[in-house]
């Protein structure tokens, strides 16, 4: 963490906005740059702490090895699956043209 608090420019905010898929107006960018800079400046106080020897703790539980058996369970009907879809054709969800291949890695 840098010693001087991070300041976000509107360009930074625009980049984060695209990553987060949030359309932001020019006014949004300005306002968010200010607000986020302030918050980031505040959370940067963690930089005071020397944590070089502290392992990250991502989760409060110490639990491990939770599995389920490979046993089929009921699926939803197609109608249930699509019941809250903004657009569908009775079989599939419909979204605006993707123009590209499946994301399947």
């Amino acid at each position: 963490m840098s010693t001087s608090p991070q300041t976000l420019t509107t360009k930074d905010v625009a980049k984060v906005g695209l990553l987060a898929r949030l359309a932001l107006s020019e006014a949004d960018l300005e306002r968010m740059a200010g607000e986020l800079s302030k918050i980031v400046g505040f959370v940067s106080m963690l930089g005071e702490l020397d944590t070089a020897d502290v392992a990250p703790l991502a989760h409060p539980l110490d639990t491990q090895n939770v599995f389920r058996d490979d046993v089929p369970a009921a699926s939803l009907s197609t109608a249930e699956a699509l019941q809250s879809a903004p657009r569908h054709d009775g079989e599939c969800f419909l979204v605006p043209a993707v123009l590209g291949e499946s994301s399947a890695a």
């Binding site: 695209l18 991502a58 939770v66 389920r68 993707v98 590209g100």
Partner: protein
């Protein structure tokens, strides 16, 4: 390295295989291929608000099995991470995958070409990890601006990602290695590796290493072309074709631009199979910022030595050692063992059963390759559905050895057994075949010799092949005689004539 090119082709592969579980990685929905759209979905794989994942034990065990077969080191502690990106076939907006602590790493798989087209190649495995598949996006290309349809049946299917070192040196090697990988995973029951159904998918990274001779100002060095990732290859044949095309394309580009690795971002190109070319795909500026972080809805997994032992114990023999086992146990050639093993576990089981009954590996292997495999190929059949079981075929082979009929006659009988599904005796009776007594054969031969003085004379003058003319005539007189026997007896009788 191909000896006839002025460069070395460097290839690494990234393979995704669907694991053969009944249910998805994190929910109880079926993984069966081909269901009507959005019929194998639930809150979890639809990514509905509030839904949570629970890991399928069988998926983890199959992944472990794959990693062990690929000689990987199994991590004692592993966890899952979220890979964040937006795409409509990924309903949660993130894929549950593994980032910095995959469950296995650092293995290898060797590929040997029995015909010696390339040197045996040990391909390093960087890592194998377990992740979830995405759903399917279907584009109406004709409409152009139309909607994309999303089917989430596949979303959440367990996938193993296998990443190799850039150890492959030719498109042929890459294809052969993929065949070996597929064979291994199918043998172990990890995956059906059906590329048509998308249960095995391959991306390839390729570039060229080009020796650049010393010049006045610079020492000799190896120039490396920019790495290109090739996607959309739908068969191992396309992989080979795409890599061949891409290597040639990079060579041309090198000659034109001298562009080297590191100076341009990694490019992704898609394989256009009908056109036989790769095409540059659009570069997405933010695509690499996946913001991985530990998946808080799952807990880590620890793997003990006992667990590894038990998985290893239930694994079955992988192809690489099975080839050696068959060759030494049944005294067949390495080439024959390779052919048999490459057909899959079921065929090997058939062969071993047959060889045991026949008591001779070589004969069994010949019948397998020349008859069983030939018919399977012609009819596109499977070993399990093959109508003649090892016992029936062993029976037939036994009768041949006994001299009841010759091999070509036996082939006719075999063909009839396959068609009718009936045992040897039934077929023999049905075809009017009966064993001819030795006395009858001798009588027939005497008759033939008397009627063919010219042949007798030819044989006497040393042209033994002239006896073949007698065999045809013998068959005409009695279809059931064993031609080999006719020949042997005729030659004996001529010799007796002095």
């Amino acid at each position: 390295m191909s000896t006839n090119t002025p460069y070395t082709t460097i290839i690494g592969l990234e393979v995704h295989v669907q694991l053969m579980t009944r249910t998805k990685l994190f929910c109880g929905c079926s993984t069966k291929f081909g269901g009507a759209p959005n019929t194998q979905v639930c809150p979890t794989c639809l990514g509905l608000p509030g839904s949570l994942p629970v890991m399928n034990r069988q998926a983890f065990d199959l992944a472990l099995r794959a990693a062990l077969a690929l000689e990987c080191t199994i991590a004692p502690f592993t966890k899952w991470d979220r890979k964040n990106y937006f795409y409509p076939d990924l309903p949660k907006g993130y894929q549950i995958s593994q980032f910095d602590l995959p469950f296995s790493s650092d293995g290898f798989l060797e590929v040997v070409d029995p015909k010696g087209a390339f040197e045996p190649r040990r391909v390093g495995i960087v890592r194998v990890h377990l992740e979830e598949d995405a759903g399917k996006s279907m584009h109406d290309d004709a409409a152009g601006t139309g909607d994309t349809r999303i089917d989430l049946n596949r979303a959440g299917t367990p996938l193993c990602e296998i990443v190799t070192q850039p150890d492959l040196r030719s498109p042929q090697e890459a294809r052969a290695w993929l065949n070996e990988l597929k064979l291994l995973l199918v043998y172990l029951g990890v995956s059906d590796c059906n590329m048509q159904e998308g249960s095995l998918r391959v991306d390839a990274n390729v570039n060229l290493h080009i020796p650049v001779p010393a010049t006045a100002g610079a020492e000799a060095r190896i120039a490396k072309t920019p790495i290109v990732e090739i996607k959309n290859m739908n068969s191992f044949r396309s992989v080979e074709r795409a890599l061949t095309y891409e290597a040639a394309r990079q060579w041309e580009e090198w000659q034109a631009t001298k562009a080297e690795m590191g100076k341009t971002p990694k490019q992704t190109r898609g394989w256009d199979d009908p056109a036989g070319i790769t095409r540059a795909q659009r570069h997405k500026e933010e695509s690499s910022d996946y913001r991985y972080f530990p998946e808080p809805d799952l807990v880590p997994v620890t793997v003990t030595a006992e667990r590894i032992q038990s998985i290893r114990g239930g694994m079955g023999e992988p192809p690489v050692s099975l080839r050696k086992t068959l060759a030494s146990q049944w005294q067949i050639s390495a080439y024959d063992a390779d052919v048999l093993v490459n057909q899959g576990r079921e065929l090997v089981d058939y062969f071993e059963d047959l060889a045991t009954r026949v008591g001779e590996g070589k004969v069994a292997s010949n019948w397998m390759q020349q008859d069983v495999l030939r018919i399977l190929n012609e009819t596109n059949g499977t070993v399990s559905a093959f109508p003649v079981r090892p016992a029936g075929l062993a029976d037939l082979i036994g009768r041949v050895k006994k001299g009841d009929f010759d091999t070509s006659r036996a082939r006719e009988i075999f063909a009839e057994m396959v068609t009718s599904g009936r045992p040897v005796d039934d077929v023999v009776a049905g075809m009017g075949i009966s064993a001819v007594s030795d006395d009858d054969v001798i009588a027939l031969c005497r008759e033939l010799l008397a009627a063919n003085p010219k042949i007798v004379a030819d044989v006497k003058s040393g042209k033994e092949q002239a006896a073949a003319g007698l065999i045809g005539q013998a068959k005409k007189k009695n279809a059931n005689v064993n031609p080999g026997k006719v020949r042997a007896i005729c030659l004996d009788l001529i010799r007796e004539m002095g």
